[in-house]
Symmetry: C2
């Protein structure tokens, strides 16, 4: 049992890879493959933009001509880890149309081209794998595909952006201001010099659009999903959270409603101390799945960084040796539920002035506090308010969902009555 | 996108299943498959022991003749969820030799026949999948196979037995006595009428033997792995744990040592409140993996119960449609590390009388407390003491490892010196 025996030469496909991109992830992947000889996968050529740069790999490996990869019949897998959406989409489409499998880490590109990518997979029969695009080293897509066929996924919620989670952890545990926490994140490489993509929630909603397809078969452009980042959260909110023994996290959620439709959004939320997501700190990600069969599952791991991302790409490459592909069972084999707006959410809203808050839109308000500088309330409002209006994220207004925020249509009357009774009305 | 379209007819294998066993898991699987039409997998025949029983499925589905399944050429997958080791092994071997894939949930059988099962897979080229045998709905085997090729897994630790974890949670959080917690577990179906297999750690070490093969390529009979269950834990231990802000869990661990060998054992352990495993309560299981690439990963879910187990079997069946099989890369493509005894462990030991404790075997003792009835000490001892002797689990002696219990050979001198200095010696 001490010798290295090639057990699987018979049925394993040899993978000859064309790699686009040699930044931190690309180089990480290159190094990882060098250490993984048993995989029988080699990078034949790497396509990069700037030929002049010094790189930690033999010069002859590199080219600036994408066709050298895309038209090479020997190359059967294209791996794309570049940072630009449209070129990335071009590369992936061409790869699939040229009979090659494709592996990608580009969440923005994938989220913005979901219908076309699905079409290409169906049309060409080739695999398009993108585990690295959703929470990196956490095998969430693979798990949704393998474990959650059909209607049994009740809900999922996740922290999918390490950058914002790092900032929130620092604001909470070390009482840093938002500004200082962001600066620290940038210094440590957890946030870009332009952090808007992360801080404003774009990265998170892109990932959520991808995961909704695998979780429920829902194919929606990220623009159609209600989201916010952490850009409006204030230190005062963190204080209130602490008083109530909560954390604040940016949580991507999806829940099957009683009417069969799905509520989905990406918003800051108060999270109880014993919630799995409270446990997810700094740049880590976490996913909680609730279903009829497996009950509750929780996955936790690094959602970003060159090695965690490279490990996810590596795992996809590994699966290609037995022709693994996403089946999108919820999309192709079941009636796909619609995204719904017909529900209510309970939320905390902090604001500078009552004039910014459309009080009449709330079903009821459970509590409110007013200081000279800042005020806040906790109330229930129709989700359509968040979908169709912007007051909740303008003028320094900060909205943070309560734990268990979704209230179904059928419950609203009963709960409103109860709330009024409690208030002595 | 609302219609059910069969996208994958072209390359998907139709799976015709012969099922052995129709207890809670077998029936759960049957029901699950009925709801999962897109899987293109049907149970053709079910082999049971007692024909008279009333069952929730058509009578013609059942037979008592195993050859009706094993010799049927139409059946290409055997699923075995019975409760007896030797018959289960017979069934699985015959299935593989007859050119059928096999799926099993029988951890005891698998742990006790590892070399033969590996041999059969190599010899026949057929798949033998057993996700349900290790933490049920947590995809730990699949993850070890897919994400951790080669030498990069530093350590893994897990709570793999829901029964004992339920008992420990009740002892801790509700201050129940061991006896009362066990009774409650039995009433709720989390422990058998003969709970020894769970309580004494046999079930946990069986699962660990299986996971060591996938994690490190180590093939060891469970008898060769040092283990204990929770049978010796006392209420007094729980009190000490609380004082020190620890939990007590039954933890299966494996760690790569500096010398390249692997330390592995299943023992009760003090777990800090912020440890992932502290979060694993009642009948849930959890696995923490530390590696060079993905850094830290944590998986949490239900490790037992008919539906979580059935969901794991279902996931294995699903993978058989593209001929998935375990590659055991660490076993076949790398030098397999040995199990080592050349290290030390720090442990808390509570006992009735000093006569039961071989004090001279300890490298040093850091603290000790003596009451009339019960005494305890915390000290460092060579792991060989646990491997070769029984004093630590006889005569009402209770051993619980400290958090971070493993001390490497090379460190022992330095740490002993430091410990003596701290003690003012």
């Amino acid at each position: 049992m001490g010798k290295a025996i090639n057990n699987n030469g018979k049925y394993h496909k040899k993978l000859t890879i064309g790699l686009f991109g040699f930044g931190v992830v690309g180089e990480g992947l290159y190094k990882a493959l060098q250490q993984t000889s048993s995989l029988n996968a080699t990078i034949k050529k790497v396509c990069i933009k700037h030929p002049g740069k010094k790189r930690n790999a033999p010069e002859e490996l590199f080219t600036t001509d994408k066709d050298e990869l895309l038209n090479d019949e020997e190359i059967n897998v294209i791996v794309e880890v570049i940072n630009e959406s449209e070129p990335a989409f071009e590369i992936v489409s061409t790869a699939l149309l040229n009979g090659k499998h494709a592996v990608s880490a580009s969440k923005k590109m994938i989220a913005e081209h979901l219908p076309k990518l699905l079409e290409l997979q169906k049309q060409t029969g080739k695999s398009f794998l993108c585990e690295a695009a959703a929470c990196a080293s956490i095998p969430v897509i693979r798990n949704l595909e393998e474990y959650y066929d059909n209607d049994l996924l009740h809900s999922l919620k996740a922290i999918v952006n390490g950058s914002t989670n790092f900032i929130l952890t620092k604001m909470f545990e070390e009482s840093l201001s938002f500004k200082d926490a962001l600066l620290l994140a940038q210094q440590l490489g957890f946030a870009e010099s332009d952090p808007t993509l992360d801080v404003d929630g774009w990265d998170a909603v892109n990932k959520w659009a991808i995961l909704l397809t695998h979780a429920y078969g829902i194919v929606e452009h990220p623009d159609n999903i209600v989201f916010s980042g952490i850009q409006n959260i204030q230190s005062g909110d963190a204080l209130v959270a602490k008083e109530k023994h909560y954390d604040i996290k940016l949580v991507a959620q999806a829940k099957k409603l009683l009417n069969g439709k799905v509520a989905a959004f990406v918003l800051p939320q108060f999270v109880k101390a014993d919630d799995h997501l409270s446990f997810v700190k700094n740049e880590y990600n976490g996913v909680v799945l609730e279903s009829s069969f497996a009950d509750k599952q929780f996955f936790y791991g690094k959602g970003a960084g060159s090695f965690p991302t490279a490990s996810a790409v590596l795992s996809d490459i590994s699966a290609l040796r037995y022709n693994y592909r996403y089946e999108y069972k919820k999309l192709y084999h079941h009636i796909v539920p619609e995204l719904s707006e017909d529900f209510y959410v309970k939320a905390y809203v902090s604001f500078d002035d009552w004039q910014y808050i459309p009080k009449e839109k709330f079903e009821w308000i459970e509590e409110w506090h007013a200081e000279a500088e800042r005020k806040y309330l906790v109330g229930v409002l129709p989700f359509t308010e968040l979908k169709n209006n912007n007051w909740w994220r303008e003028n320094n207004t900060s909205l943070i969902l309560s734990p268990e925020p979704v209230i179904e249509d059928v419950e609203i009357r009963r709960l409103k009555k109860k709330s009024l009774e409690l208030a002595g009305i």
